[in-house]
Symmetry: C2
Subunit: 215 residues, 2 copies
DNA sequence: GCAGAATTCTATAGATCTATAGAAATAAAG
DNA sequence: CTTTATTTCTATAGATCTATAGAATTCTGC
């Protein structure tokens, strides 16, 4: 009873249970899903689910954690890489939107249902989530320092805005599988970098002078 | 029993019931809210709620409708007004974010819970929702025609992006009442119009030549 | 104050749903 | 083949929750 929780099969099955919970929660929401729904999704009976979870709430916690873990890891790789600001931004958007397309329902559950977790678990997840935002924020700060971005931008706002726009499009992508993912990635990146305004301007075009001092 | 549904008091109380349902649904989600919660919020007993709604689902439908109605009306006014693209965009963002700040919980419910409605009601709401997006899209198209916006932008994408970013910030605003609404409105507008990139460019500054032909 | 209408209440049927206990089945090991 | 551990099942207690029926109360106009 205590030794088995380490067994390989148990861990595999538990992972399967987390995936099933993710799929069901993503579709019906936490309160709209019953433990019977989840069990059915993984092909066992309702009562058997409690071999893997102490409670329905624990299942939600595991799904949320599962949803954001890799995600933050991936962001660390992007942040640490040696690319231009623009490439990093695009990589971030690609990572975020691809998650949704790959039916990473767990990420959706993290976004939409985590507030139904008890205070403490929510705080733990918040640490991970703000780690993600923090990394993105640092990418923006670096962009400002390198002169790629306007010095006037609010990096906290910017990071939040990127996450917001990605989540919004993520939801749309999930519902419409015909959408061209790469097209949207490009348009999001373009919007965030260039905005929508027509530029009646002439490029000064001295690419060597990249660093501009600013206050 | 049939005549009273026209009475003034009935309509007032029913409106109150819709507001209560909106508040409770916004906080706990549709499936996480009980009819007891809603009734308690408006100071009556659970059973009495059914004097105003045929079912819990009907309540959700009414809340969603209530949430988006004025909203679309307001958008019509903005779209029909005689302002620059930039002003219209800012007015749209202001309208959207103010809604959230004014605890228009119904709008949040529309955004997050409408998919739990039966097929038919969802379709009816979709008509309203896409009317909203359509108006915003037309504002963008007009912006392109007038030369204020790049000819290369995808107006459908743009409208969707604005809605997405507003919803994302709306959620943040609701949770953090200390945030400066006007500051966020300005930053959102600025982002959408100008993007984040530093411009190593010189304005040509001939404001008279507003219309530029494009393919 | 009274009659009828409008509003709210109490009580409950019937259908969930979560979590637990213990039996049954399956797999692993000697 | 037998014993033991792991996994799944059945059955159910106990706590919801929605919706309805009919009684009780409050309001309105005379």
């Amino acid at each position: 009873m205590s030794a088995n929780t380490e067994s390989q099969k148990y861990q595999q099955q538990r992972l399967q249970a987390i995936r099933s919970a993710a799929a069901v929660f993503a579709e019906k929401g936490f309160h709209g899903s019953s433990t019977r729904d989840i069990a059915e999704h993984m092909g066992i009976k309702q009562g058997s689910l409690y071999y893997y979870f102490k409670s329905k709430e624990e299942a939600l916690g595991e799904v949320c954690l599962f949803g954001i873990e890799d995600y933050v890891e991936h962001m660390k790789v992007i942040a640490a890489s040696d690319q231009s600001f623009e490439s990093k931004l695009m990589a971030t958007i690609t990572s975020h939107l691809s998650s949704y397309r790959e039916r990473n329902e767990a990420l959706k559950v993290y976004n939409d249902e985590r507030l139904y977790l008890p205070e403490e678990k929510r705080r733990n997840l918040k640490v991970l989530g703000s780690g993600y935002r923090q990394l993105l924020e640092e990418i923006f700060e670096e962009g400002v320092r390198s002169g790629a971005l306007r010095g006037s931008i609010d990096c906290h706002f910017a990071a939040q805005a990127v996450i917001g726009i990605c989540n919004a499009w993520g939801d749309i992508i999930v519902r419409d599988p015909d959408l061209d993912l790469f097209d949207i990635i490009q348009k999001c990146t373009d919007l965030l970098i260039n905005g929508f305004r027509e530029r009646r301007t002439i490029e000064r075009s001295n690419p060597s002078n990249n660093k501009t001092d600013r206050i």
